[in-house]
């Protein structure tokens, strides 16, 4: 070796070697470090060791073991209990510095704006299509008032749900959701009932989806058929004339009639139809055949083991809502406003401003503002937890404004002189003919979005039901198939016999809202306060009133 001839290693004072460690670019070979740096004094020039001996030897072992297997082989990778805690981990840069891994939670935290957007995105469901109808049922002014009032009420209940895990002492509730809180306070009964009511909202949503998917598929098919065969449907439906046609699919001779529960099957009210059209209508019927055509498409998707593929498409929901808002604005601009204020009396074309049918709107709104079963999880990833209340309020405000915008514009722009306000359909897109291009685009968007969200909802139902009953998310293919057949069957039956999404939404909303929005949060709040000794009688009064409201909401759906 060459170094043998050099005057070896002139005696240097020991301290100098420490200062030499800092110079990485020095050409002096004496100052050069060996390639493998023993991580001792890398952080600063302290003589004291910063890295524990155990960590250093573990590092050596991990290096060595990783050479013994293929990089993808996990046989010799260190298990979790062997790796030191985050406060002992350092990240070394080859240039000789080291810094500590921050001890914060590994899950990424989102800024407020992302959390607000996530909440808005999750809450925006298909109930947006029923808001104009609900407003019509309640009356225009009363509808606006109810929307604001219900929004505030549900926001308060959402606060209660959000704060409920933190009020539980002595238990680590960091990964609890609201059903776990109910189980803590009410035992098995609480757990099971909160689960069942949560299922009601999910399965209700899935049934609504099936009805809407049949509807959109029917209309899209109809549009394509008419476009291809150049059939003009303009005279066969009762509606306005002109380019922005608005139709009344089920014209009722009695404008004061209550046809929210009615099911009129006029089908296609046109008289002159050719025989090929008749056979097309026979095979392409909104209620008779299309719900069945959807089965071979969606049932296999429901049986997938994992739903992560479908989770990628959640952005479609946002696009659909934004498109709907644009569409509504466009229609309002084209149609203009048609508003007349008749406060309590019914006229032929308009509805009173205050109607007794308003509970139907509250039922719809209970589902429209429902997020209480997953708000805790959504808020967990908020970076500044102290802003949770503010962010939730902003989210609810935005959701309320969106619903208000759509509801008010559609209601106001509905061309009343030729048509009756009473004609506003539970799905307001039904008020536009199949030949309308912009609405066709909206329907196709929504159809595609629903096809991707439907398996996600099915996965959520499956995980909760199978997890609770069998303890296993995927006990066997036949269990899953049985569950899926039940869900799909419910959807098909509803689409066949009772495709009124307004009713489905209000019933399922009122039912799940009863437990998860009104009763359980109020009770949990009162019990936790009384355990802390902070319960005051105005609070008892107010929360009992909430429970009464919830019960009244549900009962009113049946009787009004």
């Amino acid at each position: 070796m060459e170094e043998e001839n050099r005057p070896l290693l002139s005696p240097e004072p020991a301290g100098e070697s420490c200062s030499n460690r800092g110079s990485t670019d020095s050409l002096d070979f004496k100052a050069k470090r060996p390639f493998h740096v023993e991580p001792r004094n890398i952080v600063d020039n302290d003589p004291q060791e910063r890295v524990s001996a155990e960590a250093a030897i573990l590092n050596s072992r991990v290096h060595y073991y990783s050479r013994l297997t293929a990089s993808s082989d996990r046989l010799l990778s260190p298990p979790n209990h062997v790796i030191p805690g985050p406060e002992e981990l350092y990240i070394y840069s080859p240039l000789g510095t080291a810094f500590k891994v921050t001890g914060s939670d590994p899950s990424s935290k989102n800024p407020s704006i992302i959390t607000i957007f996530a909440i808005w995105n999750t809450m925006m469901g298909t109930s947006i299509l029923s808001i104009p109808w609900g407003m019509k049922q309640a009356g225009f002014t009363l509808g606006i008032l109810i929307l604001i009032f219900t929004g505030l009420l549900m926001l308060y209940c959402c606060f209660v749900v959000l704060k409920s895990p933190k009020a539980i002492p002595y238990v680590d509730t960091s990964d609890w959701e609201f059903p776990d809180v109910c189980r803590y306070y009410f035992g098995k009964f609480g757990q099971w009932s909160s689960l069942i009511f949560s299922m009601v909202s999910l399965i209700g949503a899935m049934v609504v989806y099936w009805v809407l998917m049949s509807n959109f598929l029917y209309n899209s098919g109809q549009f394509i058929y008419n476009y291809a065969h150049d059939v003009k449907m303009s005279d066969s439906e009762f509606g306005t004339n002109g380019s922005d046609k608005v139709i009344c699919p089920f014209p009722n001779t009695n404008p004061r009639g209550n046809h929210s529960m009615g099911t009129l099957y006029l089908g296609n009210s046109g008289n002159e139809t050719s025989s090929s059209d008749v056979s097309f209508e026979h095979w392409w019927s909104k209620t008779k055949t299309i719900p069945l055509y959807l089965i071979p498409l969606l049932l296999p998707l429901l049986c997938f083991r994992s739903a992560s593929f479908f989770a990628r498409f959640t952005f479609l929901g946002t696009i659909s809502v934004v498109y709907l808002i644009a569409l509504v604005t466009l229609k309002a601009v084209h149609l203009g406003f048609h508003l007349e204020f008749h406060w309590f009396d019914t006229t032929q074309f308009y509805v009173p401003e205050f109607r007794l049918l308003f509970p139907q709107f509250t039922g719809v709104l209970t589902l429209a503002f429902f997020i209480h079963n997953c708000i805790i999880t959504l808020m967990k990833s908020n970076r500044n937890q102290e802003n949770n209340v503010r962010d939730l309020s902003v989210a609810y405000l935005l959701v309320g404004l969106t619903y208000l915008y759509v509801g008010v514009l559609i209601f106001a722009a509905f061309p009343s002189p030729p048509l009756f306000k009473d004609c506003i359909e539970p799905n307001f897109l039904d008020n536009f003919p199949s030949s309308d291009v912009t609405v066709f685009v909206a329907r196709t968007f929504l159809l595609f979005q629903m096809v991707t969200v439907y398996p996600l909802l099915g996965y959520l139902v499956r995980v909760q039901v199978m997890g609770q009953i069998f303890g296993n998310h995927y006990p066997s293919f036949f269990h899953i198939l049985a569950l899926n057949i039940i869900i799909v069957g419910a959807g098909v039956l509803m689409a066949r016999f009772y495709p009124n999404i307004g009713s489905i939404i209000r019933f399922s909303g009122a039912t799940c809202g009863l437990a998860l929005v009104f009763i359980f949060p109020a009770l949990v709040h009162m019990i936790s306060r009384s355990r802390q000794g902070l319960l005051r009688w105005p609070s008892v009064l107010f929360h009992s009133f909430l429970i009464v409201l919830g019960i009244a909401n549900l009962l009113a759906q049946f009787f009004i």
Partner: protein
């Protein structure tokens, strides 16, 4: 028929999945190919290339828990497997739920040893101890050790608790190797003399195949208690890299302003590592010293060699 023609064996046995292949890979720096884990039972036949302490061949066998085909093969080949065994290392998985069965298989192995190689040394490793909570480890190991010592009579077994994630594996195997070297005390005395003569800070004697420390001498307290394992890991990684180029390394010198370290082949079974903290001593001097010492130590080994084979011929 001279039995010196047959190589003596080190048997590494244990239930399937107890960690034998990983242990062999780590100790002997063998690459584990993915497929060897996928196969049900490990059958390591006599063509193993791993030589241990010069003349011992490492054989790995799954004992118990395989399908009936393997069971039959094992039973029919029993005498073959257990003949000429120098060392039996039996691995127990501390997490095993079938303690009775494990003990039963262990006992049948011991019977076979008694019949075929009664002079074999028996070592029991209670493995995967990292899965046990720290405060319970000593207790659990004590229990197992008592049971095993009782079951092993009349043979004497030495028990160790091991885990690949702490220093216990390296220490256990170092102890095993230490007990297998026939004249280890003599080696240690000579090593100390050697170190004092050449004024080394520390002198280590490594086993050739595994770089397990057989013996060492240090003239003053060293700071890092894990330095043997670290050196062993570093050298084994270097060996792995060299083997990729079909090269092998023989000697190494590492020096900086504070120290000089020399790693060199020593005897047929060992490597030596000499640490000099006096930088004024030229390398050439140390290397000459090592070369001269080598001759002396080889003579030491050869003295016992013929005695060893004589003993076997008279069996």
């Amino acid at each position: 028929m001279s039995s010196t023609a047959m190589k003596k064996k080190v048997l590494l046995m244990g239930k399937s999945g107890s960690g034998k292949t990983s242990m062999r890979s780590i100790i002997f720096a063998n690459y584990i190919a993915r497929d060897t884990r996928r196969l049900g039972a490990t059958i390591d036949v006599e063509h193993s290339h791993v030589r241990f302490l010069g003349n011992l061949v490492l054989n790995l066998w799954d004992c118990g828990g395989q399908d009936t085909f393997m069971e039959n093969y094992f039973t029919s080949q029993r005498d073959n497997i257990f003949r000429n065994v120098e060392v039996l290392i039996y691995i127990f998985d501390v997490e095993s739920r079938e303690l009775e069965k494990d003990m039963h298989y262990y006992q049948s192995c011991l019977e076979a040893i008694l019949q075929n190689s009664p002079d074999a040394k028996v070592f029991c490793l209670v493995h995967k101890m990292d899965l046990v909570q720290e405060d319970q480890r000593d207790l659990i190991f004590k229990e197992r050790e008592e049971d095993l010592k009782r079951l092993s009579r009349p043979l004497a077994c030495t028990c160790f608790r091991t885990s690949i994630w702490d220093e216990t594996l390296y220490k256990a195997w170092s102890s095993i190797v230490y007990q297998l070297i026939p004249n280890v005390q003599q080696l240690e005395t000579n090593l100390r003399n050697f170190a004092q003569i050449i004024e080394a800070d520390e002198v280590l004697l490594f086993e050739r195949a595994t770089f397990l420390v057989i013996s060492h001498y240090q003239c003053k307290e060293q700071r890092d208690a894990h330095r043997f394992e670290k050196i062993s890991n570093i050298i084994k990684q270097f060996k792995l890299s060299c083997s990729k180029l079909a090269a092998s390394f023989q000697s190494m010198e590492v020096r900086n302003s504070n120290f000089a370290a020399f790693i060199d082949v020593f005897t047929s079974n060992t490597y030596v590592m000499v640490i000099m903290s006096d930088p004024s001593i030229p390398s050439a001097a140390t290397l000459i010293n090592i070369r001269n010492a080598r001759k002396h130590f080889e003579k030491l080994e050869r003295v016992d060699g013929p005695k060893h084979s004589l003993h076997m011929r008279m069996r």
